[in-house]
């Protein structure tokens, strides 16, 4: 029914590997890819991250390509603009639209390729993290990085109840649809407004119930979070270092 990155992350084969290692790899790739001046490094990073996600994490290829397509669409449109309106140097090719001459020159071409490759590398780093590390694993990381407890606790509760309310809103929407709530624009606006207000009231009630439930299990004002210890394995460390050296040497 729904296709959430988080659902794929939960079943990823590398879910239970050290979170810090995965974060470091993703951050490293992101920084190096964006700061590189040649397209080779970002492309190498994109390939490695894609390989790691698909081969180690066993994310389905079709799903991976679908999610990658969304940012790539934007990147390609952007690069087309860059290709024809930016840069200088020798003319590479041109064509005419309604008598207006669109020229692509060497500088523009180089820049467009660089933008695309940087986008690709950045996105593949982000997807590597998002498809291998479920949100629930990140709360412990947030805690270690010194973010105030109350913020983390709130986000934990929010994360949990997103799905509860997603379900509630889906069933309300179905209830509205079967009684012809979305037959025309006016009805739709009216129905969405009702859905939103009902959802607001429901969340308010849910808050009350939540407090009751927590209280009856001796809630004393704080949630504790345990970080599961998952030491970095030797092979992981070696692989990651080889990857880092290779990426840097391409700079």
């Amino acid at each position: 029914m729904r296709n959430l990155l988080d659902d794929y992350a939960l079943v990823s084969r590398i879910r239970y590997r050290n979170v810090w290692l995965k974060l470091t790899i993703a951050a490293f790739g992101l920084l190096v890819g964006v700061s590189s001046t040649s397209p080779a490094t970002p492309l190498f990073i994109a390939l490695s991250m894609g390989f790691a996600t698909l081969f180690f994490g066993k994310t389905p290829l079709k799903f991976y390509l679908t999610v990658l397509l969304i940012p790539m669409g934007f990147a390609i449109v952007g690069s087309l603009v860059i290709l024809f309106f930016f840069g200088s140097g020798s003319e590479v090719f041109y064509f005419e639209v309604f008598g207006y001459r669109l020229t692509a020159n060497a500088g523009g071409l180089e820049m467009a390729i660089l933008v695309i490759s940087r986008t690709l590398s950045g996105m593949s780093c982000m997807f590597f993290l998002a498809l291998s590390t479920p949100v629930i694993e990140l709360f412990a990381v947030l805690k270690r990085s010194g973010i105030p407890d109350s913020v983390i606790e709130l986000s934990m509760l929010m994360y949990r109840y997103i799905f509860v309310f997603l379900e509630v809103s889906m069933s309300i929407k179905h209830a509205q649809t079967v009684r012809l709530g979305y037959t025309n624009l006016i009805r739709s606006i009216y129905s969405v407004a009702m859905l939103a207000s009902t959802l607001f009231i429901r969340s308010y009630e849910q808050g009350e119930k939540l407090y009751l439930a927590m209280n009856s299990r001796c809630y004393d004002g704080k949630l504790t979070l345990f970080e599961t210890k998952r030491p970095i394995r030797a092979t992981e460390a070696v692989l990651a270092s080889i990857y880092a050296v290779a990426a840097l040497s391409l700079m």
Partner: protein, 439 residues
């Protein structure tokens, strides 16, 4: 002394509706108690009062004779001893993973990280959810969520567990599993309180029943007393339990022979036998009501099994030496039930026992036993309501094996011998593999 009691409890909601109006209850330790009533009869409010979440307007709640105090330290103590499982699991499970949710209670009790880890793992193992501990709750089924909610409470090791409508919104198998789990918890000494409007559940499951209507206790007693009283049920807006209704119908047609109303299907089936009357020759000094031992009969004289020990209860003396007697037959070999203690389990031993004893039906009780058996590819014929169904199978001549573990072995033996005692039908019960697991 009752473990939980209330005196003249009153609670009025801010809008003026009285949720409870002078409720008096007494909960005995180690019992299974059901509160039955329509929606809005005050069950949920009562439960929140029993756990100190709400404070009564008048009257008091007592734990082992001590009135509740409502300062935060006493409340913590009360909530540790009286756990409550809400009707909607989503209201209760708030942590992002199963593990964190179950760990919430023990952490609040101030245990060290290692103790919490141990308790949570033990509890998850016990409810059969160890493999789901890193899952977020929105990936679980309704029955699994309910088990997480129960695990969250039993991880705090309460003495009383209160469950608001524990079986509502569950599929039949899921509901049976939860019911089995409650039986198991009760067997290990927990006092279990449930609310329900399912009269069949309350009638078959509980030791003691309270009928609630409009915030008042309108009836209380054993299930027989409460559900045998049509006026009372009408007042509470409830119907008769199905087993009881069928029993009354067959009794009216003269087809039932028991005086005691049946609580479950085996007892109901047993009630179907017409009275077995026979002319017998008696010694001269016999009086009405005496029991004569007629010895062992077989062949045409044994009606239900190959050999029967027959006693005759004299109901009418015609001439001296000639009387009408009601036969009480005890079959020697109906089917049999063997109970296998999973403590000494190996797949080979189990297969050997199944082969040697020529087992036809295998049932498993408790999540853990089920998981182990299914993991090793043992085909389970019965997974829910195991004891009752094994009895029914044994009555129809099947040889059954029940896989279970720990104290549930004794629980099963006790249930079956209770049946044997009540019905007078002998079922062979023994524990297989016991030499492997008992010192």
């Amino acid at each position: 002394m009752p473990i939980l009691a209330t005196r003249n409890l009153e609670y009025v909601y801010p809008d003026g509706t009285a949720a409870l109006d002078g409720a008096e209850i007494e909960i005995e330790e180690g019992k299974r108690i059901a509160f039955v009533g329509q929606n809005g009869s005050g069950k949920s409010t009562l439960f929140l009062l029993l756990n100190g979440t709400l404070k009564p307007m008048r009257g008091e709640v007592l734990f082992r004779g001590m009135p509740f105090k409502y300062d935060s330290k006493s409340l913590k103590e009360i909530r540790r001893r009286v756990g409550i499982v809400f009707q909607n699991s989503d209201d209760q499970i708030f942590a992002p993973t199963v593990y964190q949710d179950v760990a919430f209670g023990p952490t609040n009790l101030g245990f060290s990280e290692d103790t919490v880890l141990e308790r949570v793992n033990h509890t998850l193992e016990y409810v059969g959810l160890a493999h789901l501990k890193d899952k977020p709750p929105h990936h679980l089924s309704g029955g699994e969520k309910k088990r997480v909610a129960i695990a969250g409470v039993i991880a705090m090791e309460p003495e009383v567990i209160i469950l608001d409508e524990p079986l509502s919104n569950l599929d039949p198998v899921g509901a049976d599993e939860i019911a089995d789990m409650l039986d198991e918890l009760n067997h290990f000494g927990k006092t279990i309180i449930i609310s329900t409007h399912d009269v069949d559940l309350a009638y078959g499951w509980s030791d003691y029943v309270y009928l609630l209507s409009d915030g008042r206790v309108i009836g209380r007693g054993t299930p027989d007393q409460v559900f045998g009283n049509p006026e009372l049920l009408k007042g509470a807006g409830l119907r008769q339990p199905t087993t009881l209704e069928i029993y009354h119908e067959i009794e009216r047609r003269g087809l039932a022979n028991r005086n005691k109303a049946p609580r479950n299907v085996p007892e109901l089936v047993d009630a179907l036998k017409p009275p077995d009357l026979m002319w017998v020759r008696t010694p001269p000094d016999v009086e009405v009501g005496d029991t004569l031992n007629l010895g062992v009969m077989h062949g045409d004289y044994a009606l239900h099994s190959p050999y029967e020990a027959v006693n005759a209860k004299v109901v009418y003396i015609h001439d001296p030496g000639c009387a009408i007697a009601e036969m009480e037959r005890r079959g020697f070999r109906v089917g049999c039930i063997r109970i296998y203690d999973m403590a000494g389990y190996t797949p080979e031993k189990l297969r050997k026992i199944m082969h040697d004893a020529d087992i036809e039906v295998v049932g498993a009780m408790g999540r853990k036993s089920k998981n182990i058996a299914e993991g090793d590819g043992v085909h389970l014929d019965i997974v829910a309501g195991v004891i009752d169904r094994a009895i029914l199978m044994a009555l129809s001549g099947k040889r059954c094996l029940i896989l279970t573990n720990g104290g549930m072995v004794e629980h099963a033996i006790k249930r079956i011998s209770d049946y044997v005692e009540k019905s007078g039908i002998a079922i062979n019960v023994d524990v297989a593999g016991s030499e492997n697991c008992r010192e």
